[in-house]
């Protein structure tokens, strides 16, 4: 028998349970729970899905169904320490968004959607980030990067490299 190896920490469980009074069903805690786990682990492994399901009295398949629908949650491996969404929707595309995406990926040596081998950064194409007044733009962590140019993109990559050396 494998000892009680859990993915969800006591703190995660406490934070999920603290939200329970907000909703009349436990299933409504699915997205908040996935976010809580994903924020910390940068992915939600299948074992965590099973644990979340148990916590919410759901079948693991129900949680997994929701998780996979959004294409937002990583599962088999974590995304990079920084996850950068580069907008490619119309307002950004008209002002060079696709070029910024290409530039960033080339510099980082990866394709859009990939993570650098050292796990520092994931660069993903994104649909409209709702910051078209600052096109082309990128959301990295909680920071919105506005009016991007290749120079600003370079400076961003450098600062990410410095932070995670």
């Amino acid at each position: 028998m494998i000892a009680n190896h859990r993915i969800l920490t006591d703190d995660m469980v406490a934070r999920i349970e603290a939200l329970a009074s907000r909703y009349p069903t436990k299933q409504a805690l699915t997205l908040p729970a996935l976010h809580i786990v994903h924020d910390e682990l940068r992915h939600v492994p299948l074992e965590a899905v099973v644990e979340i399901a148990k916590l919410l009295d759901l079948a693991p398949a129900e949680v997994q169904d929701t998780l996979t629908f959004y294409q937002f949650f990583y599962q088999t491996k974590p995304h990079g320490k920084v996850r950068a969404f580069v907008c490619r929707s119309i307002s950004c595309a008209l002002r060079g968004g696709e070029q910024v995406l290409d530039h960033l990926c080339k510099k980082a040596g990866i394709k859009p959607g990939e993570t650098t081998p050292d796990g520092t950064i994931t660069i993903e194409p994104a649909e409209c980030l709702g910051a078209c007044d600052f096109a082309p733009c990128m959301l990295a962590g909680n920071d919105l990067h506005k009016d991007l140019t290749s120079e600003k993109a370079d400076a961003f990559l450098e600062s990410v490299g410095r932070q995670h050396e």
């Binding site: 119309i90 008209l94 649909e127």
Partner: protein, 454 residues
């Protein structure tokens, strides 16, 4: 109509004010006074009547009468009734909700509290898209301030009315902006829109009566409570007296201007301002001194207006008169004359192929095949026949032809139909020039193997 110089922005009144997002600033501008007065003086049904007679139409895209929507709730329901506030703003080109939440969150909250009082909802969920972390922080701070001030919680100001507001974070899916997709997502499921009826007012989130309203609609409710019906109805385009089904386009509107203009931004104007006035008066003109080739009137799913159509009033009926789907989110995106319309349509098709939820086959297949065809056309293997095939896809997917559950497919179809109708010559030239030996082919051709929707 001409833009009036006497028009005063109210939805954006906090913009430029230091700490305009704080409860102190909002109160100093007269905020929350209307709510406190209304809790004492008006019954919920009277507030519904107030909003109904203001003529306010939902600002999220469909333009349905807000007050009328509220009257669909069952009378004397034992509860609970839920209010879902749609902050899943994801229509390409749209960011007005973000501005409202970040710059003046209390205006939004006052509108929510008033709307919840009117609809007898005791819980309101704000479904906020993942991509707005700053809005999340601003709203959470404002909610905390409102609880502290006794404007939220149990028995607000001794009125007997109680309300809790909770933020709920999305996970980057456009379909969650569709009101029943939002409801399913809030329940913890995949965001597959529901077949209607039953409408959410009868059976919504957690199978209870539910109202879903947009963030800007909530801000408008706050302003109507503060300034009154007459003020609201003095702005915008009145109902057409010859059309009994036209409810008019009243009130101020936030227009998001982006793309090829000198000064992109969110600008407040009376409903009915034209795209040309927006571009010239607020946007500083088309950038680099160029000409506009086309303009999206209200988010990418509304289709395109040509340069000749830029004097169309951007009210709830205007864009429809030039073949667009509607006013949508009033997100005006300017496309200059150096842009290939083929590239525009490719961008649009890629968006919808990525965002189709996959529930209805015509949308799932139609959006993806239209993208594959655009990929092939751009790879120099286009055929004139493809334009007819694309049009056929556009004509057959959506709620209008009756083949899908929600309107996402209509929004995907409109840019296809609109751009091919309005710019057919350019498509044909492009195909002939890039595929000089094969453009007349009509036999089936294999799709290119690589499609980059995801």
């Amino acid at each position: 109509m001409k833009f009036s110089d006497t028009f005063q922005p109210v939805l954006l009144e906090a913009a430029g004010i230091k700490n305009g997002f704080s409860i102190e600033s909002y109160r100093s501008r007269g905020g929350y006074d209307p709510l406190e007065k209304l809790l004492v003086e008006k019954k919920p049904a009277e507030v519904v009547e107030l909003v109904k007679s203001s003529g306010l139409r939902g600002r999220g895209g469909a333009g349905f009468m807000t007050g009328l929507k509220w009257t669909f709730l069952p009378k004397d329901h034992p509860g609970p009734i839920y209010l879902c506030v749609n902050a899943d703003e994801s229509e390409p080109g749209t960011f007005n909700n973000r501005i409202l939440m970040e710059d003046d969150p209390h205006q939004v909250l006052e509108g929510i509290i008033i709307s919840a009082y009117a609809t007898r909802a005791s819980t309101a969920y704000i479904y906020l898209r993942y991509e707005y972390p700053k809005s999340w922080d601003a709203l959470q701070k404002a909610i905390d301030e409102a609880y502290e001030a006794g404007l939220l919680g149990d028995n607000i100001h001794g009125s007997g009315f109680s309300l809790d507001i909770y933020l709920h974070r999305g996970a980057a899916a456009y379909i969650c902006g569709e009101e029943t997709g939002l409801i399913e997502s809030l329940e913890g499921k995949r965001a597959w829109p529901r077949i209607k009826p039953p409408f959410p007012a009868i059976e919504g989130v957690f199978r209870k009566p539910t109202v879903v309203n947009n963030i800007e609609t909530m801000a408008c409710v706050a302003q109507i409570a503060r300034r009154g019906i007459e003020w609201f109805r003095s702005i915008g385009i009145p109902a057409d007296p010859n059309n009994p089904r036209d409810p008019g386009s009243y009130g101020p509107k936030l227009y998001c201007l982006s793309g090829h203009v000198e000064k992109p931004g969110c600008y407040e104007a009376p409903l009915g301002i034209t795209a040309r006035e927006l571009i010239d008066r607020f946007g500083g003109g088309v950038w680099k001194g160029r000409r506009a080739k086309a303009v999206i009137p209200g988010g990418i799913s509304m289709g395109l207006m040509t340069e000749d159509e830029l004097d169309t009033p951007l009210d709830f009926t205007g864009p429809g008169t030039v073949g667009c789907l509607g006013l949508g989110t009033a997100a005006v995106v300017v496309i200059d004359d150096t842009v290939s319309i083929v590239d525009f349509l490719h961008n649009s098709c890629r968006f919808f192929a990525h965002e189709s939820c996959g529930q209805c086959t015509p949308c799932r297949e139609g959006t993806n095949w239209s993208l594959r065809m655009l990929e092939r056309i751009r790879a120099g293997k286009g055929r004139l026949r493809d334009l007819d095939l694309l049009t056929e896809i556009g004509d057959t997917m959506g709620m209008m032809p009756g083949s899908t559950i929600c309107g996402l497919a209509d929004g995907a179809a409109w840019p296809i139909k609109n751009s091919i109708t309005k710019f057919r010559d350019e498509f044909e030239d492009y195909i002939k020039q890039t595929n000089p030996t094969g453009y007349m082919e009509t036999d089936p051709v294999p799709a290119l193997p690589i499609v980059t929707a995801h």
